[in-house]
């Protein structure tokens, strides 16, 4: 079966993010970029399913600027077979992502779409659920395991109180949580091989999708900082501070 996987290029999660001086957005010039960690887990899952003989082809999709080609190449170095870049310089919000994915799914006809549960830049946590809604497919968000059985899949989802088990009909959209797998490191030979894999570039217009944002950003700011704390010498002093100063116990 064919699988579509999405990847997003984001600011590295270990970089300290700074708001631009004019408050128009976040500083991205000369900032280290990487593949969104949840997308990495999605690619890894597809590759493992291919290695297990469940998946025959992995098509990886990214939406963004020309630089997102690097992210697609990384996914192909991990094991994806080919890439599609939906190239745009505009801000693409989750509803538009879902519309792009619906258009691509109509062309590619995958049996499964694997997406990260959340991009660690805008933290929306919407695109996978929206994609499945627009396709009229089942959804399994925040999964920690998946087993395909013919025309359905058994999944385990991470929920607030523990775990939940579902059986979903295929085709379906699933989104990855942290415990699904541990992504592999890409090797140099695989990076070289990935350079030769096909990468198609299309514009949103060519897919018939209007990606104009529905949300207008009015202000971008840093939250107020906490005041400096106090170092305590021992447990006795800590208990005394909590009782008499903070009055929380």
């Amino acid at each position: 079966m064919k699988v579509l996987v999405t990847v997003k290029r984001v600011i590295d999660p270990y970089v300290k993010v700074r708001v631009k001086a004019d408050g128009s957005g976040v500083e991205t010039a000369n900032v280290k970029m990487t593949m969104n960690p949840f997308c990495e887990i999605a690619v890894e899952q597809a590759v493992r399913m291919k290695e297990a003989g469940v998946v025959t082809e992995i098509v990886v999709v990214s939406i963004g600027t020309q630089q997102s080609q690097e992210t697609l190449r990384t996914a192909m170095a991990m094991g994806a077979d080919r890439g599609i870049l939906v190239e745009t310089d505009a801000e693409v919000q989750p509803l538009a992502v879902a519309k792009v994915m619906r258009a691509i799914a109509a062309k590619e006809n995958p049996k499964l779409i694997i997406m990260g549960k959340q991009a660690i830049d805008d933290d929306s946590n919407q695109s996978g659920q929206m994609t499945s809604a627009l396709l009229g497919w089942p959804q399994a968000a925040f999964i920690s395991s998946i087993t395909v059985n013919g025309d359905s899949a058994d999944v385990t989802r991470e929920i607030d109180g523990g775990l939940e088990k579902l059986t979903i009909k295929l085709p379906a959209v699933v989104t990855t949580d942290l415990r699904l797998n541990e992504p592999r490191y890409v090797t140099l030979p695989n990076i070289m091989k990935a350079k030769k894999k096909p990468l198609e570039v299309v514009k949103p217009d060519a897919l018939g999708v209007d990606v104009a944002p529905r949300l207008t950003t009015l202000k971008v700011e840093e939250p107020s900082r906490r005041g400096a704390g106090v170092k305590v010498a021992d447990v006795k002093e800590l208990v005394s501070k909590l009782k008499n100063e903070a009055k929380v116990i």
Binding site: E164, T167, E222
Partner: protein
């Protein structure tokens, strides 16, 4: 203007977060209706009817709402939505799973995880693990919003509003609920706890978490964890506090053996008082702590438990 709040519940009671979503709804304007949909959830509907500030409760009961399957819940909510200016739910696992499906079917760009309402169409939401606050204005006719509980007080109890029965929507038949494995604990839930004791990689093992549990029991606290502790298998996934886990803001948060990655800070830095215990004097967690103790946790935690 009027607001439909989607209640999260366990059939008997409302889950923490629903009452906070109601408070957020009061800032959007108009009458508030609360939808309680589920399987055998009459008691939860009655509990919802006691919420202050609301006008009525819609109660919809059918077997295919067991497990709050997003496909079936969305099919119920979408036809109701055009009667309202806002459709709101808590930004918990429940709301995060369901609401984008509702929004997409309404052709609406959802506003996720809001921490403030500045106008009926304008909201503040944290991004980049809470390091950047963005104020966004929606141009959609219906606003679909999920609410970060720590941004709003929980609505109290008022009198008792009418409960109307709503006919069930269709069963989409796309997915089958096979059950849940819930972590059983006599301690308070993370989302509702006044005090949280949280452990990180420094705990070293699942067994060692017992010393934290002893401290938590002394304080009547919930037990949480960093991603590192969950990934290492010390505790179940539902203990995780952080950017992609639970967002908490208790009166007192005690971080033990947690170094303080930005992804963890994102989940707890709005706590009123933060205590950090770590043997590494350079641990980043100290930057957000009100009180910090540089000591071996295996010495400090039992001592703290004994001292209380």
């Amino acid at each position: 203007m009027s607001v439909l709040v989607i209640a999260e519940h366990d059939g008997k009671q409302l889950k923490a977060g629903t009452a906070n979503a109601v408070t957020a709804a009061t800032k959007m304007g108009g009458d508030i209706t609360v939808l309680v949909a589920g399987h055998q959830c009459g008691d939860a509907a009655k509990a919802a009817a006691k919420l202050a500030e609301i006008r009525k409760v819609l109660h919809c009961d059918a077997p295919h709402y067991q497990g709050s399957l997003a496909e079936n819940m969305a099919a119920l909510i979408v036809p109701l939505a055009p009667q309202y200016s806002h459709v709101v739910a808590p930004a918990t696992g429940f709301g995060k799973n369901l609401m984008p499906r509702v929004a997409a079917l309404l052709d609406v760009q959802q506003i996720s995880d809001i921490s403030a309402v500045t106008a009926p169409d304008t909201f503040v939401r944290p991004t980049y693990a809470g390091n950047v606050l963005v104020t966004v204005k929606s141009s959609d006719k219906i606003k679909v919003v999920t609410v970060r509980a720590t941004g709003f007080d929980a609505a109290g109890e008022g009198g008792s509003v009418p409960v109307e029965t709503l006919a069930p929507g269709p069963d989409a038949g796309l997915s089958k609920f096979n059950g849940q494995e819930l972590t059983k604990s006599a301690r308070p839930e993370l989302a509702a706890a006044r005090i949280i004791v949280s452990g990180g990689r420094g705990m070293g093992s699942a067994d060692n978490f017992r010393i934290l549990e002893a401290l938590a029991d002394k304080l009547g606290a919930a037990v949480g964890a960093s991603r590192a502790a969950v990934d290492s298998g010390f505790v179940p996934n539902d203990y995780q506090v952080g950017q992609t886990g639970k967002i908490v803001a208790p009166e007192l948060y005690i971080a033990v053996g947690i170094s303080g990655a930005i992804q963890h800070l994102a989940g707890m830095k709005d706590s009123k008082v933060i205590v950090a215990i770590n043997k590494d004097a350079e641990a980043p967690i100290f930057a957000v702590a009100n009180y910090w103790l540089v000591e071996d946790l295996f010495k400090a935690v039992p001592e703290l438990t004994a001292e209380l």
